[in-house]
Symmetry: C2
Subunit: 334 residues, 2 copies
């Protein structure tokens, strides 16, 4: 029985969802893969809890949910104030898990790889800006660097492109990669204007207080950039042509509807080209998704058109991608 | 540079499509994977051509397409009359590729694995009847036994279930796995009766002269059985409850249509249960596919509903799955 040591960075909604899955499926993973997981550290913005023998996840969840921060947990555990780079170096772990929003996380991802630690991440900007550097470092050291949850949450589009279709040449990908804009555009189809639809999304917790990442197309742009990196080779987000939905008017939505069409924020990815913009789609198009669905339509030389569609957001749904990568990294290292 | 030796069994339409992809993408595969392929033997029902230095695929295709059988090729090559088991034992190869319809192929699949050879197959009955035996032998010897092309041609539903979603528990799969029945049901929706629709499918080469495998649901039943094996563990085709479309009447199709529904041959796969039967579907159901599309809707505990849809038949499309597995087997062995 292998014991795999995990170092968890980020204990917000996604981090806690990952912890819950690890807790609930401990026995299952031992049976199915012969692997046991031991979380040796958890970091949130208040500090890092570190226990080489393994942290009690049930307690950690309770502390975080009761007090809002890990640093309140001082009776049983030492709380350290490491920078992420210090933590990556100090803490003995097999897999570093990044479920933060740290825009500069590529630095400690690289530090982790150099320490021989696998990296599993749901954090997009490091990949959208430093894909080549990160994946080359991982390749050189033969260490897993895995990022399924960065695109379409746990819907395994990255796995599909990386591990399957090995004889095909991908020619083009079109995708709807942001569920918040789908929600807003759907509400606009029901008659709300952009501001009203956005406020409703915010009230329901679908859009963030600062919604610019979603509505300006940046989130979709990051994801489309990552898809390009995987399917066609490295580019950065700066190379992407991104237009969001902030300027979409109620009139445009109405006119599309009158033509029997629907507006969605569509990413188009071809070799050397990443573009995100609102597009009119026939209602029967595979891209005409609803709710929190994301979809990618992948065209290849041999297979023709391949559609993968599933949850693009949600806590369990994102944890699905993170945990799948944790298992994958564990099996490769074993 | 690794040279991977391939032994090809079956040189019908699919076998030749595989040979064509290997020929056309030789340079690409060397660049992309650092792997070169050498086909050391090709067998059709007339005999086995064997050349340890590697067979010229261009010539092999020309001979087969000109004379209809490999045994006509006597000026440059020896033609042997091996049984498949003899061939598997005699011929030095890294990967045995089965693109035959041999119902008893499990015997020589096992022989190949015992000889330390990887197996790549598009042949369904061996898996639908002997999954446990075959995959256990492969696992014990740590040799790839790969069968992506047995279900949904190259659309990577097997890869998705085997290599992804590692943290999820699959709860149910519903799928449309046979394109011939979709064609026949679609034509019946246009007003033809079953016999007329079947004859049209046969004229177009979509249905075989003996169409029973498709219309009685046996083909879909094999595939659903294989999906069960991968997602829930071994069962055999004998455990499947299969009802085809031979008894579907023009009236039933018309009545479904009048309700805004469509009939498709749907496979339902749950732990311990494999069922195939015609079902009425809402037109907007992801299962309401058309043409040669196949689709699988996979429900899991974390991700909810995941849809994978793509070509379920066709020569290039099937070769896609076979060649992807050949590459995968080569990379694992390297």
């Amino acid at each position: 029985m292998d014991e795999v040591k995990l170092s968890l960075f980020g204990f917000g909604n996604v981090g806690r969802a990952v912890a819950r899955v690890l807790l609930e499926k401990e026995k299952l993973f031992r049976e199915r893969y012969g692997v046991g997981f031991k979380v040796v550290s958890i970091a949130d913005t208040s500090g890092t809890v570190w226990l080489p023998e393994g942290i009690d996840l049930r307690e950690a969840l309770l502390v975080k949910e009761t007090f809002g921060k890990l640093s309140s947990w001082t009776n049983d555990y030492e709380v350290y104030s490491f920078t992420p780079e210090e933590a990556v170096r100090e803490i003995d772990a097999d897999i570093v898990i990044d479920v933060t929003n740290d825009r500069n996380a590529h630095e400690w991802h690289l530090a982790a790889l150099r320490e021989g630690k696998a990296v599993v991440t749901s954090n997009k900007p490091p990949l959208a800006s430093h894909y080549a550097e990160l994946t080359e470092e991982a390749k050189r050291r033969e260490i897993p660097y895995l990022f399924e949850a960065t695109v379409m949450a746990g819907t395994p589009v990255i796995g599909l492109l990386r591990e399957n279709l090995l004889g095909d040449t991908v020619e083009r990908i079109e995708a709807v990669l942001n569920a918040t804009t789908t929600f807003i555009l759907s509400r606009m189809e029901m008659g709300l204007d952009f501001e009203e639809a956005l406020r409703q999304a915010q009230r329901l917790g679908i859009a963030e207080r600062d919604p610019s990442g979603d509505v300006l197309g940046i989130d979709a742009g990051y994801k489309a950039t990552i898809l390009h990196c995987v399917a066609f080779g490295p580019v950065t987000f700066d190379d992407a042509r991104v237009k969001g939905i902030a300027e979409v008017t109620a009139g445009e939505v109405r006119r599309a509807r009158a033509k029997g069409k629907t507006l969605r924020l569509v990413a188009t990815v071809e070799k050397g080209r990443v573009a995100v913009e609102p597009k009119e789609l026939p209602l029967e198009s595979p891209l005409a998704v609803s709710n929190n669905e994301n979809v990618a339509v992948i065209w290849t030389d041999l297979l023709g058109e391949l559609v993968i569609k599933g949850a693009g957001a949600g806590l369990k749904e994102t944890a699905s991608g993170v945990v799948s990568d944790i298992v994958r990294a564990s099996l490769r290292k074993a």
